[in-house]
């Protein structure tokens, strides 16, 4: 039934499909050995038993998971991690959207906007660890903030909640992660046709209506991407919580890291599998709400 007119496009589409696969191949060649297989190794290890010395005994069972789900500690760790994730997400979104909006709509010169954008990214070229500890001379009991506050007689004694508390953990997260909101949101805002906003303005729409009905829907992809970055990084972090809470707060990965340092790989692997499922669930829910690829694949 295939006439000459139909055979040609089908051969062409076969060629195109081959070309697509060829250009995706390098990505696949990295992802398989450095993501897919290692994850399978972790999943396999979670069903094994530890010999107590860093070795793994091949003895498949669900014991690691039973232990995990019957422990109250697991629940508390997840609650603590979720609390930090929600707070960090909220503040990085509010600040990130504001900054991205400012750069995209209020800065008229593209070069100036790019320069200001780069100004925001420069600190991210330095060590995370250094950036985090840079809050210590500010927030400590003898730090700058307390010195100023007591000097101005605003408080009678140094505020203790500023450092090594949940407050400083959230400050450190927001400080490090707002850029992960700014970049994708800015990239989607910069693509919005300014004439659409002008038209709405001329048609009598208010500032709030423009934001709600035009800008937010068009920025949805950027917001979703930024949210995936921020939530997955906070949920997978152990270092910020460990250092900035002064050891007062736990996180899922901090507990996992402790199990690795005592060489309990199978227990750590089971914790890892549960955490991964939770993170993947959150990411899927966020990405399902938008189609990131729609724009280039249509």
């Amino acid at each position: 039934m295939t006439g000459p007119g139909e055979a040609a496009p089908s051969r062409r589409s076969l060629m195109q499909r081959f070309a697509s696969w060829l250009s995706i191949a390098p990505l696949v060649l990295v992802l398989v050995p450095f993501f897919v297989v290692p994850m399978l190794a972790v999943i396999a290890a979670s069903f094994m038993e530890s010999d107590g010395f860093g070795g793994i005994i091949f003895h498949p069972s669900l014991d690691n998971y039973k232990e995990l789900f019957t422990s109250m500690l697991t629940m508390n760790l997840y609650l603590s991690t979720l609390k930090f994730t929600l707070l960090s997400w909220l503040f990085t979104f509010l600040i990130g959207f504001g900054v991205a909006y400012f750069l995209a709509f209020h800065v008229r010169s593209t070069l100036l906007a790019t320069s200001l954008f780069l100004l925001c990214t420069i600190p991210f070229w330095t060590s995370n660890v250094i950036r985090m500890i840079s809050w210590i001379p500010l927030l400590g009991q003898q730090g700058l903030v307390n010195t100023v506050l007591t000097g101005a007689h605003l408080v009678r004694q140094p505020l203790k909640f500023l450092l090594f508390s949940d407050f400083s953990v959230v400050v450190a997260y927001v400080h490090q992660l707002t850029i992960f909101m700014i970049v994708p949101i800015y990239s989607s805002l910069a693509r919005i046709d300014k004439r659409a906003v002008e038209a709405a303005w001329d048609a009598g729409a208010g500032r709030w209506d423009i934001l709600r009905l035009i800008i937010l829907p068009l920025a949805k992809n950027g917001i979703a991407l930024g949210s995936v970055f921020v939530t997955s990084i906070v949920m997978g972090d152990f270092f910020v919580v460990k250092v900035m809470s002064g050891g007062n707060s736990g996180s899922v990965v901090a507990a996992l890291f402790e199990n690795i340092s005592v060489l309990q790989y199978p227990t750590a692997a089971a914790q890892a599998v549960v955490l991964m499922l939770v993170v993947l669930l959150i990411a899927t829910v966020i990405l399902r709400s938008v189609d990131v690829r729609r724009e280039i694949a249509r």
Partner: protein
């Protein structure tokens, strides 16, 4: 008319967002400036204000003292690793960006594997790669297992940035080149690459930053020799002198040099394009 009126008076939201922006940048740089300033103290210096003296003591200390660890070696390794990661990230992301423009069988699987690779906790992936290398009997090292671990982090970022860049790329330019008789390779080299170049510089900057900073994935995969973030991590645990701050100052100087390079490249390209546009 309305454009002129708007140009004359800014709405109140402009000032509110300007204040937010300035506040954000101040809180971004403020704490770091404290660290840079505090790193120039002399021998008596401590970790908090006030400043004690003014000297390069802690910088010399950083690169000469053995007790602070192998700063020079780890710095060298981090730069080399970041360069390798950057080059691979740019090439692979560019190709993947081209390939993902069309739907094809299995594209969803690759896409979700990529997202998975991005959102999986770094430490967990590090353990997985460590277990895999242990099972295969290969010694983990910064240039093999750590390189792969970092790529699993930088590539999804690179490809997502390419998605954003590609969505602004008009496919008609490519089709026009084809119609004018360009081969596939000529189209890529003479049309697609030059148009996407600023975006690719962006991908490179991302690749470099994320690799240079990477900690969680590298921790279990770097083997016996440390990268800079691992060195800093061990320093935070046992060094309580301003040499830690001096290290922060040094890495920031390097960053400024690289940012400056990328920015001037982008400006150079834009100037050249503007000039070419005037000529036509």
């Amino acid at each position: 008319m309305s454009a002129i009126a708007k140009r004359r008076s800014r709405p109140w939201t402009f000032y509110a967002l300007l204040a937010l922006f300035i506040g954000y940048v101040a809180s971004l740089y403020g704490p770091m400036l404290c660290i840079y300033v505090l790193s120039f103290q002399d021998l008596r210096g401590g970790l908090v204000f006030p400043m004690k003296g003014l000297s390069f003591h802690w910088f010399v200390d950083l690169f000469t003292q053995v007790r602070t660890g192998d700063v020079k070696g780890s710095f060298d390794r981090s730069i080399r690793l970041a360069l390798m990661v950057t080059i691979i990230t740019v090439i692979v992301s560019f190709l993947a960006g081209l390939g993902f423009r069309r739907r094809f069988r299995g594209d969803g699987v690759v896409f979700y594997a990529m997202i998975g690779s991005l959102v999986v906790p770094g430490l967990v992936l590090g353990i997985g790669i460590g277990l895999l290398f242990q099972f295969l009997g290969i010694q983990p090292s910064w240039s093999t297992s750590a390189l792969g671990a970092q790529l699993s982090w930088t590539l999804p970022f690179g490809v997502l940035v390419m998605f954003a860049v590609m969505s602004r790329f008009d496919r008609r330019w490519e089709e026009a080149a084809r119609d004018l008789g360009a081969t596939r390779w000529q189209t890529v080299r003479l049309v697609v690459l030059p148009i996407l170049l600023p975006g690719l510089i962006g991908v490179a900057m991302f690749g470099f930053t994320l690799s240079y900073d990477e900690f969680a994935r590298t921790l279990q995969t770097a083997g016996s020799l440390n990268t800079l973030p691992l060195e800093i991590w061990s320093m935070t645990l046992n060094v309580t002198s301003p040499s830690l701050y001096a290290l922060g100052t040094v890495t920031t100087v390097v960053s400024f040099l690289i940012i400056g390079l990328c920015l001037s490249l982008i400006i150079h390209i834009q100037r050249r394009r503007a000039a070419a546009g005037r000529r036509d």
